[in-house]
Symmetry: C2
Subunit: 205 residues, 2 copies
Amino acid sequence: MVKTKKDTSTEERILNAAREVFIEHGLAGARMQEIADKAGINKALLHYYFRNKEKLFETVFIETMQAFLPKINSIFSSDLELFEKIEAFCGEYIDKILENPFIPLFVLHEMNKQPDEFVKNMWGGKKPNIKILVGQIEEAVHKKQIRPIHPAHLMMNIMGMCIFPFVGRPLVQLIMNVNDRQFTQMMQERKKLIPEFVRLSIQIK
Amino acid sequence: MVKTKKDTSTEERILNAAREVFIEHGLAGARMQEIADKAGINKALLHYYFRNKEKLFETVFIETMQAFLPKINSIFSSDLELFEKIEAFCGEYIDKILENPFIPLFVLHEMNKQPDEFVKNMWGGKKPNIKILVGQIEEAVHKKQIRPIHPAHLMMNIMGMCIFPFVGRPLVQLIMNVNDRQFTQMMQERKKLIPEFVRLSIQIK
DNA sequence: ACTTTTGTTAACCATTTGGTTAAATTATAT
DNA sequence: ATATAATTTAACCAAATGGTTAACAAAAGT
């Protein structure tokens, strides 16, 4: 036995509880007591494991992002053909969000509130390499395989279509009159729908 | 003179200050003292005009949404042809957001945190009439003017492409290496780019 | 003139909150 | 066994925060 003590270690229980609470309430709205309760421990123990609220938050935030970035990164850098890559990205991204539907809003919110911390913590060494993808887009434009479009615009389009339904879910469900089951179903559809939507828009011929 | 007392009434100063603070920090992160300071008044006066924090927030939130909804509503319900309508929407929507770039994230965040309040406050009587637009889309599909697509998917696509760059701005600016001027420039481009992107994707012929 | 209503303030209060301390308990090593 | 280090807890604390009170000033009725 190396280090595992119980079913799940105290530290792990804390991180799980903290992630839930931070995602639900954000940094400002989260209460240390609630995290402690949810982890089944004393509040002082939180400060024993993580010096303070911000340190804990930072840990959770980084951990959360790490769940998304590596796979996305590897897709971006892969040698897939452009439209294959777009489809792989949408599929992977939407699947990941479906597992944790509240993470995008959480990330966007904290990223906007603390852009500097975000940049420092997140992209210190892990900045996604979009050069390959950008190069692919520019090359496709140059070869007249796709219509002229700035890579940034194309990427914003794709990401926006993937993320929006999740962050705008209450709005979507309300005005479109869809229940939870239907919503999940639609998100599944979007894994193929978005790439196709993009392809039809930019592909020449 | 009917009611105007000073340059701007106290109530108005409070609401302006509150909007700034709420948008910057969210409901949980906002401090009544900061609002009072920014409005140049005593904290107790806040509670004189608005019984409590939530009442004040509700007022600000509704007021904020009202700045967006009516025009969007009128576009949705107008008798413009489908692609004209999409272009009008994107133009109007992006222009409005450019005036207040932080409102979308604010709205999304609070909407997700209090879906019930949001539904009650916002759409009590002002629920946007999307039936006309939905009807237009379905008709265009039926007439084979556009490729088959569920209206909800099309609308999510459009809204996502409009909103995402603003809520994901730090990310966009970082990985795309664009400064503020360039960012604004790109958003201007998107007022035409998005409708064109959509048209190319779904229009038949 | 004076009474009532509205607007405004300083001081205060109860609660919440992040964080600390010192002591107790449990594991680990010698 | 015993000393040492790692966990865990209850009790506490200072600061911050939303909200209240009582008194005062300014308008508006009468």
